[in-house]
Symmetry: C2
Subunit: 378 residues, 2 copies
Amino acid sequence: MNSGGDQPGTPWDATHITEMCARRAEWLRGEGHSADVVMSSRVRLARNLDGMMFMPKADRAQRERVLERCRAAILESDLAPRMLWVDLHETGKAERLLLVERQLISRSLARGKQPGGAGSKDEPRGVAVGLPDEQFSIMVNEEDHVRIQAMRSGLCLAEAAEHASAIDDQLDRRLGYAFNDRFGYLTACPTNLGTGARFSVMLHLPALKLTSEIDKVKHAAEDMGLAVRGFYGEGSEAFGDFYQISNQVTLGRSESDLLATMQREIVPKVVEYERRARDVMLNSRRRSTEDKVFRGLGLLRAARLLSVEEAMNGLSIVRLGVQLGLVHDVDLEAITRLILRIQNAHLDVTSPGPKNPAARSGARADLVRRTLSATPGE
Amino acid sequence: MNSGGDQPGTPWDATHITEMCARRAEWLRGEGHSADVVMSSRVRLARNLDGMMFMPKADRAQRERVLERCRAAILESDLAPRMLWVDLHETGKAERLLLVERQLISRSLARGKQPGGAGSKDEPRGVAVGLPDEQFSIMVNEEDHVRIQAMRSGLCLAEAAEHASAIDDQLDRRLGYAFNDRFGYLTACPTNLGTGARFSVMLHLPALKLTSEIDKVKHAAEDMGLAVRGFYGEGSEAFGDFYQISNQVTLGRSESDLLATMQREIVPKVVEYERRARDVMLNSRRRSTEDKVFRGLGLLRAARLLSVEEAMNGLSIVRLGVQLGLVHDVDLEAITRLILRIQNAHLDVTSPGPKNPAARSGARADLVRRTLSATPGE
C-alpha cells in the first residue's frame, strides 16, 4: 500500500487505480440535499487552450503538446490533498474501465475516440482525479482539450459549480483558454459554446417509473431543453431507474441563470413528483409496492447468477424500499456502495476468479448476496 | 366438529367438505415408490348400469334414478371407514371447486356439464369419497354413470388398480353393469370401451423441463398412445412442471397388460430420464441450477402477491432443490401440502378476508411466505 504516491507532492498513477476503487466515491455517498431522490450533482466545464489546434484538427504532436502542458499545469496546482494522474494511452483497458465506472472519465476518453469515431487507445490523453474524495476530475484531450468536472452527493449544483470554477481559474492562469467576447468559451462542438458548462443531476426515480409517469417527466424535461440520459450518460440505459438530467445548450444563457433554473426550479419539481408518486405507492398501493420491494430484495439475496442490469434494478427497488420504510434490515450505504462494486471492472478487481461473463455473473451474485445478508453495519 | 357424520354408518355430507380439506390428501403425501419423480398413481374405471339409458341419452328422471341407485349401493357397501357423500346439484360452487382441487371430481362433474357442453349445475349427480385418506372417489353421472377412481402416492398403479377393482366388484354385485362379450364394459365414449380403465401417473419433471428435453419425452409418450396432460387433467396447463401421463385407448388390451406396461416400462423410463437430467443439472450446471432453485425459494419467501401459476412454479423448483440436496431448511411435506392449499377454493376456506383475485393473491403470498419461512417441523 505504501508507494511513491504517498509522498507529498508525488501524484498517484495508474498503479493506484485499484486502490482508489476500494473506496467510496463522493458522488455516490447518498447524502446531502434531497438525497432521497437526487443521487448526485455534477458540473462540467469544457475548455480549450488558446493558440492550440482544437481536437478535431490537431495532429498527434499537437495533442501530445496539449497533454504535456495540461499535465504540468494540473500537477503544479494545489487542487487536492493528493492527485491521481493517469496517462490513459499507457494504461490497460481494465484500469480505464474502472475510471469509467466511477464516472471519472467518459467512455469515449477511455477508448481514445473522438466524436465521429476517429482515434484509438494510443491517442495521447489523460485524466487527473482529486483524492481522496474524487470530488473532481479533469479530462485532457477528450472532445475538448480540458474538461473539468466537479461532483457532489445530493442536490448540490452550486457548490459543485464553485469547485469547478475554482479549478477553472487556476488552470486558466497557467494555460490560457480560448475565449471570444461574442461567443464566450470556444469549444469543439457548438452546443458547448458560451459558458461551456453542463449541469447535471443523477436522479433516482423508481416511483415515477412504476407509476408509469416517467415518460411525462422526460418529455417535460426535454421541452425545457434538458437531456435525459441513463446511469452512464449518453447512449446508456436507465438501469435501475437512475436518470441523468442535464442542460443541452449553453450559448446565450449565463452560467448562474442555468444553474439557478436547474437547482431551484426544475430538479425540485421532479423531486416533488417522485415523492408524490412514492406516497401513492405507499398509501394507495401498499401491498403491490411491498410485493415489488421484497421480490427485489428476495432476488438479490437468493440469486447465484446476476447480470449488471438485474442487480441495478434490484438495488433500485430495494433503495426505494428502504426509503419508504418498508425494508429495515438493509443499510442504504451498502446499496450505494454496491452500485459501483457490481460493475464489471470493479468486480474483476475485487473477485479472484476468472474474468468472463459467466464467472462475473456468479461473483456479482455472491457479492450482492453476502453484502445484503449481513446485518447493517457489518 | 362433532356432527351427524361422526355417527358410525352415517355418511359425511357437503357440510364436512371444508373439514376434510384441512387434511392431507393421500395422493399428495409425497411418499412411495419413485416418489422423487412420481407424485401419485391413479386408476379410473368407467362403468354404466345395465338397462339404464346412458348419460347422453338419459332424461332427468332417468338420471335421478341412476343417482339414487348408485348412492344407495355405495352407502350400503363397506368401502371405507367413513364415507363422504355429496349431492353435487345441491352443493355450492365453493364446495364443488374444493373437490375439484383435491382431484376427487372432474371439472365437468363440478359444472354438471356433459361432453359437448350440455347440462347445468342442477343436473342430478354426486360423488362419494372414502375417508379419512381420500384414497378413492366414485363419481356418479359424470360422462358415465359410475366412475371409480383410486389414488396412491408414488408409483403404485397395481395397488390402486386392486383397490378400484375391489370397489368395482362390490358395486357390480349391487348395480349390475352394462357389459358385452365382444366389447367388454360399455361406455358413453368409445375410447373407454373394453376395460373402461385409465391408468395415470402424476410426474414431477422439472429437470426435463429445464434441460428442454420435456418435448422429446412428451412426443415419445404420445407415440406410445399415451396422453400427456397438466396438473388438473384434460386441457389444463402443466403448472409447476407437473405432468399427468395416462393411457388413451382401452379397447383390445387387457387391463393387466396396460398396467404392466405403464408401471414397469414407460413410467420407470421417464423417471430414469428425469433423474439423469437432475444429475446433469447438479453436476454439470450446478451454479445455474442453484440460481434457479434459490431464486424460486427467494420469490416464495419474499412475494406479497402470488398467482397460482407463480406459486406452483416456485414450489416445483423448490421441490427439485430439496431433492437435489441444495435446499436444507424446507420440509418436502410443507411443499406438498402447499400445492393444494394455494389453490383458490382451498385458500378461500382457510383465509378470512374477502374472496376476490387480488385478496387471494395476497393471502396466497402470506400463506406461502409463512409456511416456508418457518423452520421445518414447525
